[in-house]
Symmetry: C2
């Protein structure tokens, strides 16, 4: 009890300004405040020590001025950003979460975090996989890949499958899952090294470096002579337009991300000019968020942990050390410096 | 037999050039050829006298150069255009279609038409409703409204429902069907008269004249303070963009038509710049074609004929007389001159 009551300094990552276009390091700042490592009884709160923090593209569009009707509210200036993390429970007033257990879920990003009512936390098993995997393959990005592919993409053997940002946390998983469903899988990435890795290590049938292709319409014609049945959308903009010119009848487009549009006001975007293909080819294009599908998470984890054990799926992380390097890591990911899931290692249990 | 063997002149409507932007009368021409009013036995063909021809927006985009992957091939130059019609059977080698019966289905547009194997024809009941209704309320446009609304729109009581081209053949039906499902229904149309008719005679909760509104984004904010749950898309372009700024979480957009884009090459279109809303609001946008849903037609007709009898649904036609006025009627419809379903009366049985 004496130990839990002590006060320590807690470094947090604070949003100090909204990015104008690209995120810059000055948009975020490390601040230290005191935190009491004890809990008022009766509230069901949980106090956590952060082990691993997840770096994800969607954080970018939570860094914007508020507007109506979004499924997740923008981050507030002057407050810590909220990210997914894997943490160790160091104090708990929650009935089902106990000191010493490991949990994943959203936290206000810092070395320590108080989670009111334990909201959004789920326990993770350190014996099934390395803890950081619960931020990627066995967490929200993996479930994102699974839900978009299966619930919207509805893959069938022989389907032609295309994914953009294919070397990202979601792309890397979704391509392999599509392959396991019998699809022919092609991905677009931003470097030749990534092309090689996808083909040699991750079982992609093909891949191309979009930065070296001058006419994406022609590129897709070359890589998809039979057209595209499923496009797993991570980038939007001109790549979506090119895809719509090659989509097949009854094509499906799960919309997981639109990276190309995160840095601009919508009025400044180049619009997509060929949506008529959605009509002419009876295409289904559907946005989704993983939080609507968390009830599938434990089923998903069992399935994919099995694939992992059997060597049917591979995984790769891009690790940065230290809370103070979170901003750098995030900016690097937005610019495509990573291969695989980006995580920041904060502390050891 | 002597009578059936006679040869008559048959006026047909031939496509002589593809429109550059708006259809002009010179794109179509009436040509006369001989037709034998008899059939070679053993082929299952059916010979029809055309009574009513249907004038529909989708004909516009079949008047374009061929491109890959379309669900319906473009019309060929020098050949009659193919339209939906109600006809009387004047000769038949088909087992289930008999002389004197009435049928609906696609024909090469003329006073008479040969339908090989009776393909696409379905029998219609002159006692249930006026024959021309099988081109609209009780035909493909009605089923289009029903399928888009129910299979993609998934309406629930209290949903906010918006339809563009609301006084067209499909719009007029879909608004009333949405109303019967308990939605609040608002339509956009191109004249004040249409606004009044929709509100006074067709049970729309509200309607506006898009030509008088300078900022559609603001207009939709005014007519949909609670946002839009279902947008039944008939026009595309800037109206779609405005809708995407007001769509609610889990919104649905059945894509039935994109009138605004039929007159231009896709590269000349103004693009839609805010597709990010599809992601952020988890929107489903889906194109569809009525021919995939014809197996629902008889169920649909029974249901809607019941509504018609009970006065729960109203219907209105815009009738033009004579095959030679088909082009005029079509151009008028594309420019919004009609209220309700546009049909051309060709002959009496």
């Amino acid at each position: 009890m004496a130990d839990q009551a002590r006060t320590v300094r807690n470094k947090q990552v604070i949003l100090v300004s909204y990015p104008k276009d690209w995120v810059i390091e000055d948009n975020l700042r490390i601040e230290e405040t005191d935190i009491h490592l004890s809990l008022k009884p009766g509230c069901g709160h949980v106090l956590l020590q952060t082990l691993w923090a997840s770096v994800d593209p969607y954080l970018r569009w939570r860094m914007q001025e508020s507007k109506e009707g979004l499924y997740a509210q923008p981050f507030q200036l002057g407050k810590p950003i909220v990210v997914r993390a894997v943490s160790k429970v160091i104090a708990s007033d929650h009935q089902e979460i106990h000191v010493g257990e490991f949990v994943a879920g959203p936290i206000s990003l810092g070395e320590y975090a108080l989670v009111e009512g334990g909201q959004g936390l789920w326990k993770v098993d350190p014996n099934l996989a390395p803890l950081s995997y619960y931020l990627g393959l066995l967490g929200a990005p993996g479930l994102t890949a699974w839900a978009g592919l299966n619930l919207i993409g509805e893959p069938k053997p022989g389907d032609e499958f295309f994914v953009s940002a294919a070397a990202g946390a979601v792309g890397l998983v979704v391509g392999q899952l599509a392959k396991l469903k019998g699809c022919r899988v092609v991905g677009s990435v931003g470097s030749d090294d990534k092309v090689e890795l996808l083909k040699k290590e991750f079982g992609y049938d093909d891949a191309f470096n979009y930065k070296k292709e001058v006419n994406w319409d022609a590129t897709l014609g070359k890589y998809f002579p039979q057209g595209i049945d499923i496009y797993f959308e991570n980038v939007g903009g001109r790549m979506l337009e090119a895809v719509l010119n090659h989509i097949n009848l009854n094509g499906r487009i799960p919309v997981c991300g639109m990276l190309s549009s995160y840095n601009q006001e919508w009025t400044e975007q180049e619009g997509v000019r060929n949506l008529q293909n959605i009509l002419e080819k009876c295409v289904k294009m559907q946005g989704f968020i993983v939080s609507h599908h968390f009830h599938h998470l434990s089923t998903y984890i069992q399935e994919v942990a099995g694939y992992l054990k059997e060597g049917k799926i591979k995984y790769k992380e891009h690790v940065t050390e230290g809370l103070e390097n979170f901003a750098k890591s995030f900016i690097g990911m937005l610019k495509g410096a990573n291969f695989g899931k980006v995580v920041v290692h904060i502390s050891d249990p």
